[in-house]
Amino acid sequence: MHLALFIIFAGLCVAGALNLLLQRHPINSALSLIVVMSSLAVLYLLLGAEFLAAAQVIVYSGAIMVLFTFVIMLLNAGREERTHGSKLAYIAGFPGAAALLGLLTYVFLSHRSEFGQARLGEYLATTGDLSQVLFTTLLLPFEVTSILILIAILGAVALARKEH
């Protein structure tokens, strides 16, 4: 049951990500991104991270992507024009991407024994467990992140403010 759900939503996630790159219209790409985010939420749920899954849907697919589509609708962005791309992309881009992929694969495979084992549907982290960790052992990073976000908001307000 869990494996079937995993295969369905992992496939959906990859398909959405590919569609995101291949679509020419920005709103289709944005909608594919929503599919990717929501399938990721289901994968979190399968791994037992309930709160994370709900937060993923509420924050990413619900709020942030609405702003994306909002901007696309406001600008009424048209179809993307296909160019042949720069030469640099062909010369440096593809080998670079392949090298990065190879490096990551190598690192993950060589350190496989040090990773923990996560099984589908075995473990359940309740909201209580998560907040216990977040507000005791990880309190400092949590608070620092919130200050970082506050600074970002202030920066956005300062940039958007009209000069008098």
């Binding site: 899954a53 509420i58 697919s61 619900g62 709020a63 589509t69 609708m73 309740t126």
Partner: protein
Amino acid sequence: MDTNLIPFLLINLAKVIVVVVIFLMSVAYTVLLERKLVGRIQNRWGPSRVGPFGMLQPLVDGAKLFLKEDLIPEAVYRPLYILAPIIALGCSLMSISVVPFGSDVKWHGVQLFQISDNNIGLLIILGITSIGVYGIALSGWSSNNKYSLLGALRASAQIISYELALGLSLVGVVLRSGSLNLRHIVDVQATHGLLSWNFFGGFQFIAFFIYLMAAYAETNRSPFDLPEAESELTAGYHTEYSSMKFAMFFMAEYGNMITVGCVATLLFFGGWTTPFGNLLPEPHSQILVALLSIFWFVIKVFGFLFLYIWVRGTLPRFRYDQLMGFGWKFLVPVAVANIVVTSFCIGLLPPAQ
């Protein structure tokens, strides 16, 4: 679990079908209730010709909408134009799946009065509501019509802004009950009848009024119905829709109203518990207990629907800048203050047990 997977699936499928049928019927009759009540408020009769007291009007309306020609204008972006009402109605139907309708009655180990009983029920409702925006946003954009686009932009901005106040207003209740499970939130309020409801005994009435106002804005209902303000935008985001596609938006709106009523009942008014607490003797029959719980739940939700319609018949529409100012400068700070005061009270006062 694998051994009895088939009966598990069958029972759940049956539950889903029953709930969807009852939900759609109640949507149809909420429309009739609205037409009747608004008629009375405006000193006229409302629908009264089809059937006794106009009771068959929803069926006739449904047949009319179903048989109308389904126009798709030339210039629309077809995939999204067709997808948008499906998203709107789908989200509206999905959010009812975590709502518990009655007391804890199990049959062959399956919860009878709730489709899915899980730990994050409240968050699931919030998540599905936040996905529901896409139905409105995409319909306005794909219609290729200025009025629709303006309506959709208004709706997205309004729903995102009020979602914040809505979410914050629920934190006080979650703090009091220490759980996001809707069934558990109701059980916490079940001890002393009316006095232990979050609205009265829990001193969450400020949170309740914030929730109510934010929820009215979330469902695009009067006095926050700017996305479909007739005098400015013709019909707003569904200007270009006809026949069943229009009906799907309509059903989604009324479905969301019912869900909001259910959530308000569960969180603030004790769900299916009686207001009399232990004053009345507990009935001996299990069936009677179950039926009474359903009765109280339906009565409370009906009260909220009545309030919705009453407000619609009474209050004038907001201006757009007033709407945004009200949401950000009044509701959000008050909701935050409510969270601070509630957590101080819970932290300082000794626990009840």
